[in-house]
């Protein structure tokens, strides 16, 4: 349909203004990460300077944020792998088998998206604490403990997203393979998995973003051994005195992988963000 020129010009003007309002804080802030310390807080801001990597060196090595980076990687990748191992078969089960209560169970999975983190975070802290006192089994401040608690938001999302991919596949695919003598598991491995592989990758990456950005559960349950990058970012704010260059260096380390993933994932993003409720 033809859109009148004036209307289109107005649409462009507003959308570009929106994009600029998104980009200014992100770009100007990120620029600070490359500024030498003497111009971190100069006002008016300095736009042209000799960029330096000393802030990154400082946060990663001097302040040892590489440990937080490592923790974030272990926890995010670990929790995504476990969510996939449990969630992909479950999604297949929901997509292929109709059974009493299957609809209700799926709706229950969506409702998990609504639970405030404090509702599970609080009992987790107490449970870990009491468990440690009574049995000596420590889950507090362990990577595994956090990976376990992250399943509260990752696992339902993996099941919903992957179910969407399995539903799109005709059931005849595995059935014909099973007629040819494959077991269901064999058919799954040889016929179904190769086809849904891109879906699994997209699901994994999107869930990685959620685990990577998670702050609340880590704040409650992580300690010296497990504290993650988002928690490290907060340490550069000390009362009124903020180390802006260092702070934005950490911010950029948190943002970069996510932005790169987003560029590849933008088609799948809506599906993940809406939990597939729209399908």
């Amino acid at each position: 349909m033809a859109v009148p020129v004036r209307e289109r010009a107005l649409a462009y003007a507003i959308l570009i203004a929106m994009a600029v309002l998104v980009l200014i804080p992100v770009l100007a802030g990120s620029l600070t990460a490359f500024k030498p310390q003497i111009i971190w807080i100069s006002s008016p801001p300095v736009w042209f300077f000799q960029p330096t990597l000393e802030n990154f060196e400082f946060v990663l090595i001097t302040r040892q944020n590489w440990l937080h980076l490592r923790n974030s990687l272990i926890i995010s990748i670990g929790s995504v792998l476990i969510a996939l191992a449990l969630g992909v078969p479950a999604a297949y089960g929901f997509a292929r088998f109709r059974f009493r209560g299957s609809r209700g169970l799926m709706q229950w999975l969506i409702s998990l998206r609504m639970i405030p983190p404090i509702v599970v975070g609080l009992p987790f802290y107490a449970m870990f604490l009491f468990l440690e006192r009574s049995t000596g089994l420590g889950l507090r401040d362990t990577h595994f403990g956090l990976i376990l608690t992250y399943q509260t938001f990752l696992l339902p999302l993996v099941i919903w997203m992957m179910r969407g991919y399995f539903v799109e596949l005709p059931a005849a695919m595995e059935e014909s393979a099973m007629v040819e003598g494959y077991t269901r598991i064999g058919a799954l491995r040889r016929v179904v998995l190769p086809v849904v592989w891109p879906g699994i990758v997209a699901t994994a990456l999107l869930n990685f973003i959620f685990a990577w950005n998670e702050f609340f559960l880590a704040l409650i349950l992580a300690g010296n051994n497990t504290s993650t990058l988002p928690m490290a970012a907060g340490t550069y704010v000390v009362r009124a005195r903020v180390e802006w260059g260092n702070l934005f260096a950490v911010n950029l380390i948190i943002m970069m992988p996510v932005i790169v993933l987003t560029i590849f994932l933008r088609q799948q993003l809506v599906k993940g963000l809406t939990f597939g409720i729209l399908e």
């Binding site: 289109r8 649409a11 462009y12 507003i14 959308l15 998104v22 200014i24 804080p25 992100v26 100007a28 600070t32 807080i41 100069s42 006002s43 008016p44 078969p89 479950a90 297949y92 929901f94 292929r96 088998f97 609809r103 709706q107 998990l112 998206r113 405030p116 983190p117 404090i118 509702v119 599970v120 609080l122 009992p123 987790f124 107490a126 006192r133 399943q151 696992l155 339902p156 099941i159 950005n213 702050f215 609340f216 409650i220 970012a233 907060g234 704010v237 702070l247 911010n251 996510v258 932005i259 987003t262 560029i263 933008r266 993003l269 809506v270 963000l273 809406t274 939990f275 409720i277 729209l278």
Partner: protein, 309 residues
Amino acid sequence: MAKPDVSAQPAGQSLARRVYRLTQRHRHWFFIGPALLILLAVVIYPIIFSTGVSLFRVTFASMSRPFVGLQNFERMLGNDDFLQSAYNTLFYVVFSVSGSFLLGFGAALLIRRISRGRDILRLILIVPITMAPIVVGLMWNWMLDPLFGLINWFLGLLGIPGQTLLAQAGTARLMVVLVDIWQWYPLVFLIIEAGMATLPRAPYESARLEGVSSWMIFRRITLPMLRPVILVALLLRTVDAFRTFDLVRVMTDGGPALTTETLSLYLYRTAFTFNKLSRAAAGSILMLLVIGLISAMMFRFLYKDIEVG
């Protein structure tokens, strides 16, 4: 799980066949069971545990737990700070949801009117959604800094002196909501735009042929057909705004004078600063009930329109 060949079995009800039948009838549990067990352990059990704790008087230090019934709930509902944080949360939900909805919906309508540059504009608008809320909060702290923030530098160019926008009760509340809108209106935009892309074209064409005005087309065709999509966007924004923690924690930490303290923040403090675990548990159960009520209502509307599952 090796599957015996059905045709090789004799017609009688041998034990092997009966076992096979049974596993066939319940084979979905083989796939779903493990995930369900973990979800029971990490979601249902903690909620039951929390409900239990809320009925006793438990702190992190003492496990001696006298049963107090609903006393923790009564104390919570009679507590001024709790009510203040409930009010703050309501304020936050109302303005953040409506603001992000209007902006996001508007952006979705606008982007349908252009063709060149659509992908790059969409990609830029997605960026805030993918950022950790804590990063967004810290970034805007810098933007809003009274001495060297970009906002105040800009205001200075207009001759307005530096403002401590995050330290004044009236403006802090507004700023936090604005930043939340900044981060999440792109989500509404994405959802609504995805919904618009699936609308059939025929009703539009016939309406246009009959000379219906574009406002009437929007009201009578677009809005009704988008209803389920709109509900999903509103539902997600409402629950997310209701449980906000990260952004407020880094921007104002509830201050000044508790004017930005949301429920999540207040309960966190009750448990971890004041060591009142049972009372915080009671509050979190109340929060869960409210959110359950809100989503149940919205789901009812939603299921009238579409079939899910």
